[in-house]
C-alpha cells in the first residue's frame, strides 16, 4: 500500500479504506468534491467541512481539511456559527438526507431563508442507511424500507423544491453518476456567495436496493444512466422523485441575493455607524 493516489493529499489516509459499502455512490461524490475544491481555486486553509451523523456524516472524517463531525441534524447550526464568527471561511455542509432533511429539516429551511453563506451538499439515498434502512422523509411513495415492509405511504419531500422555496440562491440536483456535471456544479456552488444547495442521488445497495430488489450499486447506476433527464432551469416544483420513475436533474436555481452577512454589516452600519 505504498502507492499514492493523486487525491490522497486531501484524504486522511489512515482512515482509508472507508466504511462505505461496495457499490455506494458516496465515494464517487467525494471524488467529485475533491476535484471541485481543486477547480474552485479556493484557499484550502479557509475551507471547512461540517457533517452530521450517518453514512454521509463520515465525509468530514475522511477529508483532510478543517472538518467537524457534529451531532445528529445539527450540522447546519454548527456551520452557521462558523460562517457568522469568521466570514472569511468557506463553509461546506456535507451530510445525508436523514441528517439534513429529517432531523435537521428546520435548520435547513431557516439557513436558506437567512441566506447564510454556506454550501450544503445533501446526499440522498432515500432512507436512513446506517441505522438499518428505516423509512425517512425522502423515501419515495410505495418504496419498501425496514419500517415500511408493505411500502411507504407518505409523500416524500422534493428537496430541490424545498430548498428553492426556502430561498436558496443556487439549487442543483445530480446523481452520483453525473461526475463531470456534478464537479462543475460543486465548483459553481463553492464560488457562489449565499446559501447553495446540491442534492446528489446516490445508490444504496445494502439498504434501499436490497429491500426493493433493485440489484447492486452498479444496477442502480445503470438505472440513473437510463432514467435521468437533464433539464437546466426546470421548475423545481415538477422535479418530484417517485419510486423508480424518471429523475429530473440539472441546475434549477442560480440567482443573486445579498447574503445574511451583507445585511448584517449594512444594517449595523446604518444604526451604529461604521466600525473601525
Amino acid at each position: 500500500m505504498n502507492e499514492k493516489h493523486p487525491m490522497d493529499y486531501l484524504l486522511r489516509e489512515d482512515r482509508i479504506p472507508h466504511i462505505w459499502c461496495p457499490g455506494c455512490g458516496l465515494g464517487s461524490s467525494v471524488s467529485c468534491f475533491i476535484m471541485a475544491l481543486e477547480d474552485s481555486g479556493l484557499d484550502l486553509n479557509k475551507v471547512v467541512v461540517v457533517s452530521g451523523i450517518g453514512c454521509t456524516g463520515r465525509v468530514a472524517g475522511y477529508i483532510n481539511l478543517d472538518s467537524f463531525h457534529t451531532t445528529h441534524g445539527r450540522a447546519i447550526p454548527f456551520a452557521t456559527g462558523l460562517a457568522l464568527a469568521n466570514p472569511e471561511l468557506k463553509v461546506v455542509v456535507y451530510s445525508g438526507d436523514g441528517d439534513l432533511i429529517a432531523i435537521g429539516g428546520n435548520h435547513l429551511i431557516h439557513a436558506a431563508r437567512r441566506n447564510i453563506n454556506m454550501t450544503v451538499i445533501c446526499v440522498n439515498n432515500f432512507l436512513y442507511g446506517m441505522t438499518g434502512g428505516q423509512v425517512g422523509p425522502t423515501t419515495p411513495l410505495y418504496a419498501k424500507a425496514t419500517t415500511s415492509p408493505y411500502g411507504n405511504f407518505e409523500r416524500p419531500f422534493n428537496l430541490v423544491y424545498l430548498a428553492a422555496a426556502s430561498g436558496a440562491v443556487y439549487v442543483a440536483r445530480w446523481t452520483a453518476l453525473h461526475l463531470r456535471r456534478l464537479t462543475k456544479s460543486m465548483t459553481e456552488a463553492l464560488q457562489k456567495k449565499g446559501f447553495s444547495f446540491i442534492e446528489i442521488i446516490s445508490p444504496c445497495p445494502t439498504s434501499y436496493a436490497r429491500r426493493n430488489r433493485l440489484g447492486d450499486g452498479l444496477d442502480q447506476m445503470k438505472f440513473y444512466h437510463d432514467n435521468s433527464i437533464i433539464r437546466h432551469g426546470a421548475d423545481p416544483k415538477e422535479a418530484d422523485i417517485g419510486f423508480q420513475t424518471k429523475i429530473v436533474v440539472g441546475k434549477f436555481i442560480d440567482v443573486e441575493r445579498p447574503d445574511y452577512h451583507t445585511f448584517l454589516t449594512e444594517g449595523l452600519a446604518k444604526v451604529v455607524g461604521e466600525r473601525k
Binding site: 493516489h5 462505505w20 467525494v30 471524488s31 461526475l179 447492486d216 452498479l218 447506476m221
Partner: protein, 104 residues
Amino acid sequence: MLLSSLGEKKMKYWRKPLDADKVKVPHGKVRIIKDRCKGCGFCVEYCPRDVLELTDEFNIKGYHFPHAKNEEACVNCGLCELVCPEFAIYNIPAEELEEKDDQG
C-alpha cells in the same frame, strides 16, 4: 456494439474531422491500488474506451479488482479516477503518441 469499436486502437468516426490528422490523441496509463478495491465494477462499466476488466484474482479483502486489458486504448480522461468510490484507481499521462488516423 459501439463500445467494442471504441476499444480498438484507432477511433472510428461517423464523419472524419477536418483536422483529424493534426489532433494528437492523449495516451494514459492506468494505475490501480488493488488492495483498496471493493469490486463494485463502476470503472469497468463506465470506462469510455473499455480498457478495464475485473480479474479472477482476489485482493487482501477478498474482492476481485480490475486490471487494464488493453491499456494502449486509454486516453487519460480520468473518468475512472472520478468514478472510483475507493480512491483506488488513477491515470497518469503517457508520452503522447502520434497517431495517424487513416480511417474515414
